[in-house]
């Protein structure tokens, strides 16, 4: 078994015309679920494709399971279940044929894992793939990746365009994959725009903005650190930890260091009417703004 990170990116970069991804440094430890999150065009799909060597980097090193492309390509790919954003080459194949093909190539084929995301959806087994609804196509692509019996699952927007029922079955499929009793060190990397997916199942968030990896954040730590305060009145001057002050009534403070902020408010005799956790989406937008301000060299930028 591989020791250390299962995925390791060192100084990896790729450019397409004006778009530049990287340089990216990223280590993913086995056993965890990582959500790759970021605005449209931030480089999520490119990053995932690099893990499959579908997009070779211009520079830097991509290493998986301790091996590298192209030398260890076959060995690496056997350990990955991959669900691309769009499947190419499937057009004329029926779900039945696809399943037979893929299960033939993967000795660890897991029929139950295939069925989890599809249960509850009527699949027309003999219709060509391209004639199926886009939601069904997505479900099939994800089901095939889940069932490959792999050590690593790489999914590009697995729940995009799904109805809420199919979506929760896909998440259950991911959960069954990671919590399988027989494979105790499985890892999942998935790109998504759905914050609910991130909150439910992602241990870490790889946050990409304009091709730059802002960091690999622990989902729970972000949620516990960022806090909203509703004080009786707006404080004068600077309050430690304060990232945003909305002084329209009701006054609201966003803090990324709630202990310090609470203490400062107490010291100024400002009562707090309410505190609450922030939505993940708001936290990420603050991180994005902090990055923009840091770039602009604004005095509000935090260390």
């Amino acid at each position: 078994m591989t020791r250390g990170p299962i995925i390791s990116l060192r100084d990896v970069s790729k450019s397409y015309g004006a778009f530049e991804l990287g340089p990216i440094d990223l280590d993913v430890e086995p056993g965890c679920v990582v959500a790759v999150v970021g605005p449209v065009g931030s480089g999520k799909s490119t990053l995932l494709k690099m893990l499959m060597n579908l997009v070779p980097p211009d520079s830097g090193e991509v290493s998986l399971f301790g091996g590298a492309f192209p030398e260890d390509e076959v060995a690496i790919k056997q350990k990955i279940g991959f669900a691309p954003e769009r499947a190419t080459g499937y057009e004329d194949l029926s779900p039945r044929t696809l399943r037979e093909l893929v299960s033939y190539f993967y000795p660890g084929w897991d029929q139950k894992a295939y069925e989890v995301p599809l249960s509850g959806t009527e699949i027309e087994e003999d219709r060509p793939f391209e004639a199926l609804s886009s939601g069904t196509q997505r479900l099939l692509i994800v089901a095939l990746a889940l069932a490959a019996g792999s050590e690593l699952l790489v999914l590009d927007e697995p729940t995009a365009g799904l109805d809420p029922f199919a979506r929760s079955r896909v998440l259950a499929g991911i959960s069954h994959f990671i919590a399988d009793e027989r494979h105790r060190n499985r890892t999942v990397v998935f790109a998504t725009h759905a914050m609910e997916d991130v909150r439910l199942i992602a241990d870490h968030i790889a946050f990409l903005v304009d091709g730059e990896l802002l960091g690999l954040f622990e989902t729970g730590a972000l949620q516990e650190r960022w806090t909203a305060f509703w004080p009786e009145r707006a404080p004068e001057g600077d309050i430690p930890g304060m990232v945003e002050l909305d002084s329209d009534d009701p006054v609201r403070i966003v803090s990324d260091s709630p202990g310090e902020t609470a203490e400062a408010l107490r010291a100024r005799n400002i009562g707090v009417l309410r505190t609450g956790a922030l939505e993940l989406e708001e936290i990420l937008s603050h991180l994005m703004r902090q990055r923009a301000e840091g770039r602009a060299g604004s005095p509000r930028a935090r260390e």
Partner: protein, 145 residues
């Protein structure tokens, strides 16, 4: 996330994760299990699902359920024995009472805060409590706390 696709084996604890609640998923699992344990709904010695079974049931990650069990174990509410799984810890009546007392105290502290912000004095707060008690039809005889 309550639909089940696999037949379930072994113990089951009804955990439901909410998207309305902005706390991390492990905090939600912890507080639900804590409520079941402190209320006596899960008796000492009750076998809990494995972290993997619980993750599959709740559709969350293994690291999430691992963290929840670790925190509850540190609180002394559950016990994990190598090869024997996780069970609800033997909690003395005294400790249970203390934990329930803490919960009540925290609720009162919050109520007092609300009262203070509304400008109530201590006497007025007492009056509110008396009024609330009079309106309360529950007879507990005081033996729970």
């Amino acid at each position: 996330m309550s639909e089940k696709w696999y037949p379930r084996r072994g113990p089951h604890v009804p955990i439901s994760l909410s998207m309305e609640d902005h706390r991390p998923m492990y905090r939600q699992i912890e507080s639900q299990l804590r409520d079941f344990i402190l209320s006596g709904a899960l008796r000492p010695g009750t076998k809990l699902p494995t972290i993997r079974a619980l993750a599959r049931d709740a559709s969350c990650s293994v690291i999430t359920t691992q963290r929840a069990y670790r925190d509850l174990e540190e609180e002394g509410l559950i016990l994990t024995r190598q090869g024997r799984g996780t069970v609800v810890a033997e909690i003395t009546e005294e400790k249970l009472r203390a934990r329930r007392h803490e919960a009540v105290k925290a609720a009162f502290a919050e109520a007092v805060g609300t009262g203070r912000r509304a400008g109530l004095t201590g006497d007025e707060l007492h009056a509110v409590l008396d009024e609330t008690l009079q309106g309360d039809q529950t007879e507990t005889g005081g033996d729970r706390l």
